[in-house]
């Protein structure tokens, strides 16, 4: 699947951070990396691509089709999003149940659902953990389980948001294997990361967020906490630093 953005615009009402005029595209079956400094808007762009945020201007196109009116469920059939916090997308008490309940809700028989779940778990070396609680998984295991959940939908692309955070060298090697495995299925991968070595080893192309975003860098959004202290300063003035009983 080809993913494109055309003149994409988005501003957070809270902080005023904005993306403007973002033109991005990635072709099918490859791994592209989105890099950039902290707070440059990588996560924001990733969420816009998957429909977790709605663009305020411009469009996100899948194979040339504008996705603005698509439901989240329909998007999820085409693209999967791995959160920076994978625990947010794990719902059931046990590993196996997390992969089974969405299938059961879709009317797939328990036997078939379990077979599909176990096959995925085996592929990503999680089968020995099938009965474990998702809360006791390590970060790398949570990520792999979350990716399994995304793959159940047979998407054509995956967005992985900072997947190397908190992984040691061995877990990173396992993750690289997962990415290769996914690519082998013809699923394209957008790797959001500022791990230069990992990007170099796993991505065929690198795009820097700073080059995509046409918005001038916001210099210090208004600080709300200072604002809210304002009235109290007027009220106390000379008395600051008083002592009271605990």
């Amino acid at each position: 699947m080809t993913i494109e953005t055309k003149n994409l615009t988005f501003t957070y009402p809270g902080t005023g951070f904005s993306l403007r005029g973002v033109d991005f595209s990635m072709g099918p079956g490859a791994c592209a990396a989105l890099t950039g400094s902290n707070g440059s808007g990588k996560t924001t762009l990733g969420k816009l691509l998957c429909g977790l945020l709605k663009p305020q201007g411009g469009a996100v196109l899948f194979d040339g089709e504008d996705t603005a009116k698509w439901s989240l469920g329909r998007r999820g059939q085409r693209i999967g999003y791995l959160f920076q916090e994978p625990a947010r997308q794990l719902f059931a008490p046990t590993v196996l149940e997390d992969l089974m309940f969405t299938q059961e809700l879709q009317g797939i028989s328990p036997g078939e659902a379990e077979a599909r779940a176990m096959a995925l778990l085996a592929r990503f070396e999680l089968d020995s953990l099938a009965r474990r609680s998702v809360l006791t998984l390590s970060r790398g295991e949570q990520q792999r389980l979350a990716i399994c959940g995304l793959l159940l939908n047979k998407p054509e692309a995956l967005v992985l948001d900072e997947p190397t955070t908190g992984l040691d060298a061995r877990r990173k090697a396992i993750l690289a294997g997962v990415i290769r495995e996914v690519l082998r299925d013809g699923i394209s991968v957008l790797l959001i990361s500022h791990d230069a070595a990992f990007v170099k080893a796993n991505a065929q192309r690198e795009v820097r967020m700073e080059q995509l975003n046409q918005a001038p860098l916001a210099s210090g959004a208004p600080d709300k906490s200072a604002d809210s202290l304002g009235w109290i300063e007027g009220g106390s003035g000379e008395g600051a630093g008083g002592v009271h009983e605990n």
Binding site: L72, Q89, G239
Partner: protein
Amino acid sequence: MKTDPRVTLLFVLLLSTAGVVLRGALELAPVLLSAMIAALWGKAPVGRVLRRLAGLWITLVSVTALQALFSGDIRTGLLTGAAVLERLVILMLGGTMLAAYPGHALVQAMIQLRLPYQLAYMVSVGLRFVPQFSESFKDSLTAMQLRGVDFRRLKMKARLRVYTYLLMPTIAAGVQRAQKLAMAMELRGFGAHEQRGSYAPLHMKSKDWLALAGVIAWAAGLSAIEVLWRIAI
């Protein structure tokens, strides 16, 4: 400048007590009226809160209608329903008035009202977690939908199951965060000293004393009306 948060705390406390203790729709009416006036006078963002609760309003009105239907006699039913509605609005307005203050001001007020510091601190920590909870929950909600779960198409039983699944990640993250915070606080010696300083203690100004007198007069007046009413009946 806003009224001293201690006065507002006292007022909201009395307000919610009246809202819970008083039963009838007619008795609650003056309480609701004073809550409205106070909230508007204190420039609390009443409109914004009511708009935010727009979805809830529909539920509230239907609850009222059901109350009316099931208590048989239409008149009593309507009055009971109205009382429920009034009570909720009173409590919401009270909350709104407090929400107009920054969290640390309320904590400072509680401390200076001699509430245990641990309790006040817990409230402030709780308030600070709210945005994180809501973001985590929003992420989970979209993640669930992206996984192909369409809430509108589910039967009631399946929907309930999905709702419990939805709460899981947020609650788990909350518990884990609380554990980490507790450990960090222990390590910093939370509660090790009997006395502690405040960065910005509160001071009552003449305007605040006036507001306090107003609150007391209001409470006395309301109680008097209530007592007279009971005697008359």
